[in-house]
């Protein structure tokens, strides 16, 4: 087990290393002169030179990559270009906290709900309730977040006026105090996964209830709730991995949802950084999100090996 986790960790570090090279190379070929962007059009050649030297842009790319990675390893991500003098590490921490809050509440909301809905549909296979749940979960997983988010905003914020439409919050605000502002983003970011997980749960419940051990349990004369318990124990195992694996999806979803609701999280930060061509911020935020994504994937693999005694590496 330790060996397996160790191997996967090394794999992850290698992948992250390659990711950092790709990110660095991509931002390297970005058109436009950074020094020119900072000083504006009317800068003198001397001042441009000075800024380049100050930023280390006159050094070869390999050296700059080395400097960057060395800084990243020490937790120093440099300062943002578009927000002058703001430390990127601080910024990522603040925004990351906001996104984590959103993602955590989305998970708390979607996991139990999708399990219940999926199990009900699976146990009542073929009934009208099953058709209803299957169809609506297919709809939920197909809709891009900015569409479902817009509908929710129109209905619950603009028409019924029961929740705020926008989720802009002051930096450092107590997120529990402004919780009403987070309700729509939480629901929106959960919807796709809700549909997806519910369908997976339904499929595995149906699989399990057609199995030999379920039939044996019925024929043995076990009471219904005990048969259901047999089925659920086996059906929910693959579901755990599905959930863990797809939490990575939340990251992409967060970019859209945070942009839509103007919520100051990591996803919106990535978007703003790309829009403003803020190279150090793009590098740091994309690397961080990739790292989180990879960690979630690793976690799902590990959980799977714990749950399924047949899987041994």
């Amino acid at each position: 087990m330790t060996k397996f986790i160790g191997k996967r960790l090394i794999n992850m570090v290698i992948t992250l290393f390659i990711a950092s090279i790709i990110i660095f190379t991509l931002t390297e070929v970005m058109p436009g002169d950074v020094a020119q962007m900072i000083l504006g059009q009317y800068a003198t050649p001397e001042s441009l030179e000075a800024v380049r030297a100050q930023l280390g842009l006159d050094k070869p790319a390999v050296v700059r990559y080395g400097d960057w990675i060395w800084g990243v390893l020490q937790g120093d991500l440099g300062t943002s270009m578009s927000m002058k003098g703001v430390s990127i590490s601080d910024l990522l921490l603040r925004r990351g906290r906001n996104s984590l809050f959103l993602a955590a509440f989305a998970t708390i909301f979607l996991v139990p709900l999708s399990l219940v809905v999926g199990v009900i549909a699976g146990l009542r296979e073929g009934s009208w309730l099953d058709h209803f749940i299957s169809t609506s979960s297919l709809v939920a997983l197909s809709l891009p977040s900015f569409i479902s988010g817009t509908f929710l905003m129109l209905i619950f914020a603009i028409w019924l006026k029961i929740v705020p439409a926008m989720s802009s919050i002051a930096p450092g605000a107590n997120l529990f105090k402004v919780f009403p502002k987070l309700i729509l983003p939480i629901i929106t970011v959960s919807l796709v996964l809700l549909g997806y997980v519910a369908r997976m749960v339904r499929a595995s419940v149906i699989d399990a209830s057609h199995s030999d051990y379920a039939r044996t349990a019925v024929l043995k004369g076990l009471p219904y709730h005990k048969v259901v318990w047999h089925i659920l124990r086996n059906a929910l195992m693959p579901t755990v991995t599905v959930i863990a694996m797809n939490l990575g999806w939340l990251i992409g979803g967060l970019v859209i949802v945070e942009t839509l609701f103007a919520y100051p999280g990591l996803g919106r930060l990535v978007y703003v950084a790309i829009q403003r061509q803020d190279i150090p911020l793009i590098q740091a935020s994309v690397l961080l999100t990739s790292a989180v994504y990879l960690l979630l994937n690793l976690a799902s693999d590990i959980i799977y090996t714990f749950l399924d005694p047949r899987v041994r590496y």
Partner: protein
């Protein structure tokens, strides 16, 4: 000629089987409707999608403007109808590109095996370990937003996923006798890959392609919404949603109709993809 007739028959057989899935049929009808609208374009749109009507800015839905107008008085109905073109072209080209790249990679790695397989698939795993949207945003942010960029980026993002499906299908078909026979006949590797193997993995590839088409619409619309795809004044559903955000509280029609358009298309594609998946799994 005979082969052609057989293929046409085969196609009708698939449609007949799919017709057992009401949702799949609803999906197919909606998709065909949008394709028709996209082809007819200006014939069905009452106004030019980019024509200004300064006297009618921000008017709600009416007989004159069924979906209302935007901040320049442009007719939203015409903009939504004409917007079907960009989404369909972007998503289908991107799917075709990823299908081409992915199935080629899958065929080659699956058939050749060995070191090539090991190295290429490891690289594919790395590519897949980035969130798709983030990767697309990064590339488009760097090389500048453009419709062509959207096609290339989505094609690249989904190619590894299709390659994986193609590869595992190839590994299975590779064991069969007719491949052995072709090898004994001394056919070239290229011939075996594209003439013997490819026709036999259409099933799983078709299922994957239909699912990917849904994702491609999802992703291209999301990129349009972020302003990284089609640029104004061209009407694009994602872009229309972006433009509507600012005015959403007092001109909600600007958001409602493009949102309904996107929703109808993605849901339709997913209904059809689900029916195709069931057909391949023998559930229909």
């Amino acid at each position: 000629m005979e082969g052609f007739v057989r293929r046409i028959r085969g196609f009708f057989e698939i449609v007949r089987r799919l017709s057992h899935s009401p949702l799949g049929m609803i999906g197919l009808v909606i998709i065909l409707l949008w394709v028709l609208i996209a082809i007819l374009g200006p014939i069905v749109a009452p106004y030019s999608p980019t024509a200004y009507h300064p006297q009618d800015r921000f008017t709600g839905p009416s007989l004159k403007y069924p979906f209302g107008t935007d901040r320049f008085g442009r007719d939203m109905f015409s903009r939504v109808l004409m917007g079907s073109r960009s989404v369909l072209i972007l998503a289908s080209s991107a799917t075709a590109l990823s299908l081409f790249l992915g199935s080629s990679i899958g065929l080659i790695t699956g058939f050749l095996g060995g070191l090539v397989d090991e190295v290429v698939m490891r690289f594919m795993d790395i590519l897949m370990s980035f969130p798709a949207l983030l990767f697309a945003m990064l590339i488009l942010g760097i090389f500048g937003p453009s419709p062509f960029g959207v096609i290339v980026v989505i094609g690249l993002v989904y190619a590894p996923r299709i390659a994986r499906v193609a590869r595992s299908a190839v590994l299975e078909v590779k064991q069969r006798e007719f491949i052995e026979a072709a090898k004994v006949r001394g056919e070239s590797n290229l011939y075996i890959m594209f003439v013997e193997l490819l026709p036999n993995i259409w099933g799983p590839l078709g299922v994957e392609a239909s699912v990917r088409f849904g994702y491609a619409i999802f992703l291209s619309a999301s990129l349009g919404f972020l302003g990284l795809g089609v640029q104004p004044p061209t009407p694009d559903w994602g872009l229309l949603m972006k433009e509507a955000q600012q005015y959403i509280s007092w001109a909600p029609w600007m958001a409602v109709f493009p949102a309904l358009a996107i929703a109808s298309l993605v849901v339709a594609v997913n209904f059809l993809a689900d029916a195709i998946r069931k057909y391949e799994a023998g559930e229909l």
